[in-house]
Every structure is written in structure tokens, then in C-alpha cells.
Symmetry: C2
DNA sequence: TTCAAACTGTACAGATCTGTCTAGTATAGT
DNA sequence: ACTATACTAGACAGATCTGTACAGTTTGAA
């Protein structure tokens, strides 16, 4: 059901029934329930896959670019994905809307945001508690939400400029010089 | 009905059945279907209510504050709502995740973003097509998404600082002086 | 008072969804 | 060859959801 993560992301979690998942995976229903206790855990596993994927991406960006270029490289990657039309918002922010508050998915969501904050903190060269880090997370989540709502990839161009402004403000100090 | 907008916002659209709506409204199911063709239109009406509400808020902010203070006043209002614990993300961004692409709700969502862009453009004193406007929309949506995901009202303090940075960059020109 | 419109409660059709169960089949280790 | 394990297809229970139908009641205006 690794390939079924496609359905959860593309069509939404609640809109995707178990039957459609097993049909696409070419697998019997009993097999699915032998591997996952229920849909909640399947959703958590789906997010776990997404987390592994984005973690791999962030690792690659960190390996390929100096700190000062990483945020822009990350957003540029998202921009290309949006241009390809494969972007349906942030899988984790979407999951917040769709899953119950006590779902096992919540733990995965929290880990995603922790990883993201660490990435931004390293890129800025500051502690994760610095406001600039959270500002970049806002920038990321906002761009993803708007790209999904307005179906407009150009929002990432704007987001890259915004992230640049944030980075400038951080290196120049909060008071601007 | 109108009070059922509470349920859609608080519990999510897909998680809220028609039966729960009519139970809370103290109304018969037939009455609901006499006033709305189906759930899609009920959802659209719910978003219409939210749009009227946020429009009223933005009008009030515009009447009460000079342009340079409006963005901060708006975000401060959201911050207070978050501290009250009544915030579950942006109703329109959430609806993007939950409703189908051809739902009548989509038109209302688009109008919301147009109104929001107009508010930010007026506050900055620039044309709606200026990048700073879209940056403030990113700032808004990102803050709402993170407040919902992390249940942390303090994100609005960070967002207000970010919006300040954007406004500074706009008045000082894109190249920073 | 009369009458039409709109409401009420409730039952029900039809669809869909999660999760269980059965019965039979392939596979792999010993 | 034997056996444990995991798979398959599919039926099925039980719940829930949207939307309709029906019969009776309230309401309000002429």
C-alpha cells in the first residue's frame, strides 16, 4: 500500500476509501488488515512515507547547497513540482484538517514540523527558537496552501522573495542593521 | 442552517453529517432540503457566512486604523481568537482540502482570497499585483495553518513580525533602499 | 374560519465505508 | 512431502451518510 499513498495525497484522506486503495494496489482486503490495524494506521503509514520522502529531499538539499542557498533551493523544488501539477498542498497540513485529533497521524505531523524547523534553522545558522525559523515555516505553509487553493505555481516565486527577505532580516539583526 | 456553520468549522466538513446539523439546529431534515439543494450548497452557504463575517471584520479594521496599522490589527485579532481556542485554521483553506474541485464552494473561496488581497493591497497602499500583497497572503495562510497544526497561538506574534518585515521591504523598495 | 404554505418527526431507499470472516490457493522452509 | 504462513476473492455485518417520501401539525394571512 505504498502506492496507495498517491490516493490519499491526490484525492484526500476521507475521500479515499479502503476499497479504492486495495483495488489500486492489486491486493486483497485481508492482506491490508494483516499489515495495518485499521485506516488510522494506514494514514499514519502514508504520512510516514511522506515524511521519509521530504526528509530525503531536505538531506539532499543540505548536501548539495551551502546554507545560504538551501531555502531557495527547497522552494524552487516545490515550484517545479507545482508546475508539474503534482502539488495538492502540504500533505501534513492537509492531514491536520482531515484526521481526528487523537489519530496516530498526529505524531508524524509533529515530527514533520520539527524536521522542517531544523532545516530552516540550519540554513539560517541560528537556533530553532529564533523567530526567523518559524517565519520560514509560515512562508512554506502559506505558499503550499495558496498554491493548492489558487492552483497558481507562481506563488512560489513570491515565497522565494519573501524567504529572502526573512533571511536578510535575520543576518542583519531584528532591528535592521 | 446558520448555527450549523459552527459544526463545519469546528469538526470539519466531511466529519459533520447532515443529521448532526439538523439536530443542533433543532430543525427537520425536510426543512433543510427545502432551503438548500444539497450538502454542497449548504457548504457553500456556510462559506458565504464566513466570508460575510471576515469581510465585516476587515471593514471594521479599515475603518478603525490607518493603513499602516491594519495588517497588524488584523493579525492581532486572529491572535486573540487563537488564544481563546476558537481557531481551527482558515475555513477557506480547510475547505480547499475537503470539498471536490467542482463544488459551488470554490467560487466563494476565490472571492475570499480576492477580498483578502484587496485588504492587504489597501493597507500597503499598492496595487494588488505587487508581490508584497501576495506575501502577506502567504503570511496569513501560513500562520493559520501552523496555528491549527501546532495549536500554538504564539505563531501570530511571529507572523506579525514577518508582516512588519514585508511592509518595511515594500515601502523601502524591493532592493532595500 | 379557511386555506395554503411551510414546518415536523420519522421511516426508508440507496450508496458507501470500515472491518470481519470464510474458503480456497500459492509459497517457502524443513 | 508436509506444514505453517501469507495470500487471494468475495461475501457479509454494521454503521453512517445523503437525499426522498409521507402523514400530520403549526402558522399566518385573507
Amino acid at each position: 500500500m505504498d502506492a496507495a499513498s498517491t490516493l490519499f495525497y491526490r484525492d484526500g484522506i476521507n475521500a479515499t476509501g479502503i476499497d479504492r486503495v486495495i483495488a489500486r494496489a492489486g491486493v486483497a482486503k485481508a492482506s491490508l488488515y494483516n499489515n495495518f490495524a485499521g485506516k488510522d494506521e494506514l494514514v499514519a503509514a502514508y504520512l510516514e512515507r511522506r515524511l521519509a520522502r521530504v526528509t530525503r529531499l531536505l538531506d539532499e538539499v543540505e548536501a548539495a547547497h551551502p546554507a545560504s542557498r538551501r531555502v531557495d533551493a527547497f522552494l524552487a523544488h516545490l515550484e517545479r513540482a507545482a508546475q508539474r501539477g503534482t502539488l495538492r498542498g502540504c500533505a501534513f497540513a492537509n492531514a491536520v484538517v482531515e484526521v481526528a485529533a487523537d489519530s496516530p497521524a498526529r505524531a508524524v505531523i509533529d515530527r514533520f514540523y520539527q524536521r522542517l524547523e531544523r532545516f530552516f534553522a540550519d540554513a539560517l545558522g541560528v537556533d530553532v527558537r529564533e523567530p526567523g525559523v518559524r517565519q520560514l515555516v509560515i512562508c512554506y505553509d502559506g505558499a503550499m496552501a495558496i498554491a493548492a487553493a489558487l492552483r497558481d505555481p507562481s506563488v512560489f516565486t513570491t515565497a522565494r522573495a519573501l524567504a529572502d527577505t526573512v533571511a536578510d532580516a535575520v543576518v542583519r539583526g531584528p532591528r535592521g542593521e
